[in-house]
């Protein structure tokens, strides 16, 4: 292997170094991805219960009462918020502002359309919505239960040519919220 004055490698030597570098990078990526079978999922091993950080990669699931198919088509959940009146030393449920929760579904979400239509006609108005946040091993770590949720807004399908997925969004008013761990 020869080296010129500028510290640059000549052609064959440079190719060898690049090849070794690419091999090392490949091994590193494979080990990180767990392809060798001994790499645990991030944060799953050696972490005491209650200390595992929940990542987006761990994923989430949503359960809507009476709408199992639509539950599996939830694309995003926004608006998990609770606001209480700070001027009151004894805040109570009526003073709490919850959400509103915004759920985006991959189309078709027929059960959601049905729920919206039922709400308009005054039947089957309130449902419980459970949001499950998962650990790296797929088990449920946290649950946020939105009791007695009432749809207040439905946005029709968004047609976007840049995506293969079309979505519709439902905004719901939360009746009561419960955090579980």
């Amino acid at each position: 292997m020869s080296q010129d004055d500028g510290g640059k490698l000549d052609g064959p030597a440079r190719r060898t170094v690049l090849k070794l570098g690419a091999t090392a990078l490949g091994i590193g990526v494979a080990a990180r991805a767990g392809l060798f079978g001994d790499a645990p999922p991030a944060g799953a091993q050696g972490v005491p219960p209650g200390d595992e950080i929940l990542t987006h990669a761990g994923g989430f699931s949503v359960e809507i009462d009476g709408a199992p198919a639509a539950s599996g088509r939830v694309r995003s959940v926004y608006g998990l918020e609770v606001l209480l009146d700070e001027r009151k030393p004894k805040p109570n449920f009526k003073k709490a502002v919850l959400g509103p929760l915004r759920l985006a579904f991959d189309t078709p979400a027929d059960e959601i359309t049905q729920w919206w239509n039922d709400t308009k006609s005054g039947t089957c108005i309130r449902k419980n919505i459970t949001i499950n946040l998962r650990r790296a091993d797929g088990t449920t770590a946290r649950q946020i239960v939105c009791h007695d949720s009432l749809p207040t807004q439905w946005s029709s399908v968004n047609f976007d040519t840049s995506s293969t997925v079309q979505t519709e969004t439902l905004t719901v008013k939360i009746g009561r919220i419960e955090f579980k761990t």
Binding site: H56, E81, A96, R135
Partner: protein, 142 residues
């Protein structure tokens, strides 16, 4: 002596009417805390003062624990006993050895806001963040 702050620990204590701790949980996974401190509002006569504690904001990645925080928010929202004592302890590294630093005790605190980060199926990088704002009635520094 090289001293640096390496983190902080948050402890939520639930007290009974006699001031005894009936439930306690410590957590050092929060990423940031902003302590607003206290303000003093003097009355017009200037003879008496009324200290007012600011809102404390805890922010960090969601964990599979924090049962005490979940119970606290649930009970506050439902109007059940809401008082907790929140203790924030600095964690120091003194010449490489860990020890506790200053302690901020927030008495009769209650949560005023909670916010969890939005979830999206296409988001696969990073931690799920959460944030809680807490209003104490009185702040003590030890």
């Amino acid at each position: 002596m090289a001293t640096e702050i390496v983190g902080f620990r948050v402890t939520i204590d639930q007290l009974d009417d006699a001031g005894q701790v009936i439930a306690s949980e410590s957590d050092s996974q929060w990423e940031s805390v902003s302590l607003a401190g206290e303000q003093i509002k003097a009355c017009k006569s200037g003879k008496s003062v009324e200290p007012r504690a600011g809102i404390v904001v805890l922010r960090g990645a969601m964990t599979d624990g924090r049962k005490a925080l979940c119970d606290w928010i649930n009970e506050t929202v439902e109007g059940k006993p809401w008082k907790r004592t929140l203790t924030i302890t600095e964690l120091l590294s003194v010449d490489g050895a860990g020890r506790d630093g200053r302690v901020f005790i927030l008495h009769d605190a209650f949560p005023v806001a909670y916010r969890a980060e939005g979830l999206h199926k296409s988001k696969v990088v990073g931690n799920v963040m959460e944030e809680v704002a807490i209003k104490p009635i009185r702040v003590e520094l030890k």
